[in-house]
């Protein structure tokens, strides 16, 4: 049962981590504002489900588009002018953009915490001793499926080829006619869409508040780091590992450990295997 709970949250983390890795692979920027995109997704979910009363299905389809556009807008308007600066300026900017966006949501919404209903209420399923709610199954399956779709787009679709080319060698990609501007915007759109989707899945169980922003960017970062930061598959597994670790820690140690465990995991990964558990084979281009 703990496993199921862990997998559910893990799947959400995987989605978030995937978005971070997509952006990092294609544009070399670590997006500390990612949590704010997840939060935007959660708020948008509230808007569609509660505000407009449209129910969940439109949310799953519309929210990624909205957050994707938001992310692309951030890249275009704010980050593009400083793209030439050093990492310090870029990372610090994403940190403050993230906080700034969270502040904007807070001011617009005027309340600290919002809630959305469970998309799959009803009796839980019993498998032997284990109680699984429909919501858990849905979130796990849905988030994993979305991650796989994201992976597929990046890895196999024509759309993804340009991004992968950019990730492998910017100059080479440009010589194939891929424009850095378009590819960057696309990468951020994709990353933002994944983040927004994570927000839709997370909204019912994690609640919608500015806290979500920080907790999701941290979880996403840790999951991505476990995976090796440059590996999409790694991000997927990293998220699941993190989710499981958290719920196990909460059950067997204490609830305070839920937060601490992610940091401990990150610390261990950075110290012992900074290239992550799934390092992308770096073949030398002679």
């Amino acid at each position: 049962m703990i496993v199921v709970g862990g997998l559910k949250f893990g799947a959400i983390y995987s989605l978030a981590a995937l978005g971070i890795v997509v952006i990092h692979k294609a544009t070399r920027i670590v997006n500390f504002a990612h949590g704010a995109f997840v939060l935007a997704g959660a708020y948008a979910t509230y808007g569609i489900v509660e505000g407009m009363g449209l129910g969940y299905w439109p949310a799953y389809l519309l929210v990624p588009v909205v957050t994707g556009l938001l992310a692309a807008a951030v890249e275009l308007v704010i980050l593009r002018p400083i793209r030439q600066s050093d990492m310090f300026a870029l990372i610090t900017s994403t940190i403050f953009i993230g906080i700034g966006l969270s502040e904007v949501y807070r001011l617009v919404q005027n309340t600290e915490m919002l809630g959305v209903p469970n998309p799959f209420p009803g009796r839980p399923i019993f498998i032997g001793d284990i109680i699984i709610t429909k919501e858990q199954i849905w979130v796990f399956a849905g988030a994993i499926l979305s991650s796989l779709i994201g992976l597929a787009i990046f890895g196999y679709a024509r759309l993804g080829r340009g991004l992968r080319a950019m990730a492998a060698n910017v100059r080479g990609a440009v010589l194939c006619g891929y424009s850095t501007d378009s590819m960057n915007a696309l990468a951020w759109f994709l990353g933002g869409a994944l983040a927004g989707l994570a927000g839709v899945f997370a909204a019912p169980s994690k609640g919608i508040s500015p806290e979500l922003s920080i907790s999701m960017v941290t979880a996403g970062f840790v999951a991505a780091a476990i995976g090796g930061f440059d590996s999409l598959r790694g991000a997927l597994f990293g998220g699941l590992i993190l989710g499981l670790a958290e719920t196990f820690a909460a059950a067997y140690v204490s609830s305070a450990m839920t937060n601490a465990i992610s940091f401990l995991l990150l610390f261990m990964v950075l110290l012992w295997r900074p290239e992550g558990l799934f390092p992308e084979a770096k073949i030398r281009d002679v």
Partner: protein, 232 residues
């Protein structure tokens, strides 16, 4: 003239790499750009291709001014660059690399990959092999193949024979001849005078960013001036 530059100036920070380069490449022609290291040959072709910024000057290609275009747009107009470091994608297969290159030919007639495989049979044998695991010579072939599928009217080749074994160099010289025969104009950057003379109609020698010699390939081989220019 398919390609013309006038007053091309390239700087990286305070360093002036190319100082006022004028060159003309005829349609279906072949021009060699020679000179010692640091002379500015690579900087010149990379600037022409739009890969690095130009400090001054103009570049005309196929009747239009491409000076302010960046490389992704330049290649889509039909001017392809095979850079000195090849800049391949280590985890792309041969086939996928060509697919990536064909992106630049969108909206224009496509070049069938078979043309590349025919030119370089070794690549055909390795269609699904990853670029990073190819030998130096095969990587160079792939880099040229990738440029070919962009359906270029002219190609900029930056030291294609550098670091290759003698036997393979000959294969390359033949390949470049065939590419030229198919109607593509070539601007060849070379350090090796003999290779340049075999392939090119005309030669320009750069030293310290400036043109120090200009003439036909035939004159180049017999010119002592050129050797002086290298060692001046």
């Amino acid at each position: 003239m398919i390609l013309q530059t006038s007053g091309l100036r390239v700087a990286s920070g305070p360093m002036i790499r190319v100082d006022g380069l004028d060159l003309s490449l005829a349609e279906r022609g072949c021009l060699a750009l020679l000179g010692p290291n640091g002379a500015g040959k690579t900087a010149s072709v990379e600037a022409i291709a739009g890969l690095i910024p130009k400090a001054a000057g103009r570049v005309m290609f196929d009747g239009s001014d491409i000076t302010s275009l960046d490389a992704s747009k330049v290649v889509r107009r039909g001017l392809a660059l095979v850079p000195q470091l090849r800049e391949l994608f280590p985890n792309f297969s041969v086939e996928e690399t060509l697919l990536a290159g064909s992106h630049a030919a969108r909206g224009r007639p496509a070049i069938p990959f078979d043309m590349v495989y025919e030119l370089f049979p070794r690549l055909a044998e390795r269609r699904s092999q990853l670029a990073g695991s190819l030998s130096g010579g095969e990587q160079q072939m792939l880099a040229i193949g990738r440029a070919l599928v962009t359906n270029p009217k002219a190609m900029l080749l930056d030291e294609p024979s550098a670091g290759l074994a003698i036997g393979i160099v000959r294969a390359f010289v033949d390949a470049v001849k065939r590419i030229r025969e198919s109607g593509v104009a070539i601007l060849l950057v070379e350090q090796n005078l003999e290779i340049a003379a075999t392939l090119a109609d005309d030669c320009i020698v750069l030293a310290a960013g400036r043109v120090v010699w200009r003439g036909s390939a035939r004159d180049a081989t017999s010119s002592e001036e050129i050797r002086q220019a290298y060692f001046a």
